[in-house]
């Protein structure tokens, strides 16, 4: 089953997979064995092989989140061997290749664990808390009518670049999963600083940060203690600087906004 590379030797692996029937069921680790895994497969393709085996045996396949499988959508969300998205830095689970593992390895696969991310089934988690945070303020006011000329609003290149870096957040939740406190600060800070850096974001600047932080707290995420696991595990490299920008924006908004709540 080895792929196009003739030197790629197929691997046999032991998988310890978290199985949980539904949101309220008691979950547990179940051991599986997969054979002839090509080092050129992605991690999710390896799980596809496992699920095929399970289906052939008449067992329930392992539920896991995935969509684009090219590191853009932020759907895949596996906690592999004690790390968000596995051992490789700056990579989503779908872009993690089996060549990063060795024949005979035991791999433990768990879902993101956070009170705010309830487990749907097995490895699939409900991250709609992130959607509700974005709905609370992660948008900009846009005038109706014809699209304005992009070059009409001058933005210095370095500011545009920093805003873009923050905008690359794919919302996968690896930051929450890796954080000891299950804090969503890196996720929230990426959106807040992206929009705070740009003139388009100025209209809702104060209400945005107040509402997004309020929603984040309401969802039950932990508080940031600047450990730094989030940025270290982020597949797109969102930096801790964004959290400082969020703190700054929040303090400034609380001190000056007209919101009395």
């Amino acid at each position: 089953m080895a792929g196009s590379n003739p030197n790629a030797k197929p691997m046999n692996l032991t998988l310890n997979v978290w199985r949980q029937a539904n949101r309220n069921a008691q979950g547990k680790i179940v051991e599986y064995h997969v054979k002839d895994i090509s080092p050129e497969m992605s991690f999710l393709e390896m799980l596809d092989v496992l699920n095929e085996d399970l289906l052939h045996k008449g067992d329930d396949p392992v539920a896991f989140d995935h969509d684009c499988r090219e590191g853009i959508c932020g759907s895949c969300d596996l906690f592999i061997n004690g790390r968000s998205h596995g051992p490789e830095k700056g990579t989503t689970t779908c872009q993690l290749h089996m060549r990063k593992f060795s024949d005979g390895d035991t791999i433990t696969i768990e879902p993101w664990r956070a009170n705010s991310f309830p487990i749907n089934k097995d490895l699939s988690v409900d991250r709609s808390a992130f959607d509700r945070i974005i709905q609370a303020g992660g948008y900009v006011s846009v005038n109706t009518g014809g699209a304005p000329d992009g070059n009409e609003i001058p933005i210095p290149k370095d500011i545009a670049d920093r805003a873009f870096e923050a905008a690359t957040c794919i919302g996968c939740g690896a930051c929450v999963a890796a954080c000891k406190n299950a804090s969503a600060m890196l996720f929230v800070s990426a959106k807040v600083s992206q929009l705070a850096l740009l003139p388009q974001g100025n209209v809702e600047r104060k209400t945005r940060v107040e509402n997004m932080v309020a929603q984040m707290d309401k969802e039950g995420f932990g508080a940031c203690t600047n450990i730094g696991s989030c940025a270290a595990e982020c597949p797109v490299g969102i930096s801790l600087e964004n959290i400082a920008i969020l703190n700054r924006e929040f303090l400034a908004a609380k001190a000056t906004s007209n919101n009395l709540a």
Binding site: N16, W18, I29, F79, N81, G82, R83, P87, T108, E110, R113, A114, N115, S116, A178, K180, N181, A182, S183, G220, F221, G222, A223, C224, T225, N226, I227, G228, S229, A232, E233, L240, E241, I243, A244, I245, L246, N247, R248, E249, L251
Partner: protein, 228 residues
């Protein structure tokens, strides 16, 4: 957390600088004069209440934060390799802080309580002789051990805490953050090492009166000469 923490850092500096007078070879006269001033000056006594509040809020916030953050992840991971993505000290500020709190209670009872409410014998300048109490305390091995362990914890606590305080306040900049972190690391090492040096010095190198023992005195003498 950040404001109280950084405020407590300033206290550490004052406390450390004052206590360095323990190393002055004058039988404790300067140290006792200093501690008499600290215990009686009305401005210091007022700031002292600020310090009590600083510690109180820091501990209170830590309790709230810990409770909230623990409830944010009720079910732990079966396998978690956090050591591969963060520093141990950053993840264990609560444990380190608790060790420091235990130390603080013992420390306050032994020195502050006796100095403020106890009856210490007067020294040659008729100040309360806190120096002798310090020296005799640091002649007990378990006390020295507690002190050194607490200072190691303090060092690790500051290693994370100093830089973290600035980050929480939003003071992060590509130019200055590496500098702030570097100062924080140096602060952690220097402050904890200097505090730990006090009990170790009296335990290892002095007699019951705080005078250098005969084995060490020539060494110190030649060191002083070399420095001159």
């Amino acid at each position: 957390m950040s404001l109280t923490g950084l405020f407590l850092c300033t206290f550490l500096v004052v406390h450390l600088v004052g206590n360095l007078q323990l190393f002055k070879h004058d039988g404790g006269a300067a140290f006792n004069t200093y501690s008499h001033f600290m215990g009686t000056n009305p401005i210091i006594r007022t700031i002292e209440w600020g310090l009590v509040l600083g510690f109180g809020f820091h501990i209170y916030e830590a309790l709230l934060l810990t409770r909230r953050n623990q409830s944010a992840r009720p079910q732990k991971y079966v396998v978690n390799h956090a050591e591969q993505n963060s520093q141990w000290t950053s993840r264990n500020m609560g444990i380190l802080g608790s060790i420091i709190l235990i130390f603080l209670i013992v420390h306050l009872y032994n020195f502050f309580w006796h100095a403020r409410f106890g009856t210490l014998d007067p020294d040659i300048n008729n100040n309360d002789d806190l120096y002798t109490l310090v020296v005799s305390s640091f002649k007990q091995w378990w006390y020295v051990l507690l002190y050194v362990a607490a200072q190691v914890s303090l060092g690790y606590h500051l290693w994370h805490g100093f830089g973290s305080g600035f980050q929480t306040l939003g003071l992060n900049h590509r130019k200055y953050t590496p500098l702030i972190k570097g100062i924080g690391y140096a602060f952690a090492v220097v402050v904890s090492a200097a505090f730990a040096a006090m009990p170790l010095y009296f335990y290892l190198f002095t007699n019951d009166k705080g005078e250098l023992t005969s084995a060490v005195a020539p060494l110190v003498h030649s060191l002083t000469l070399a420095l001159k």
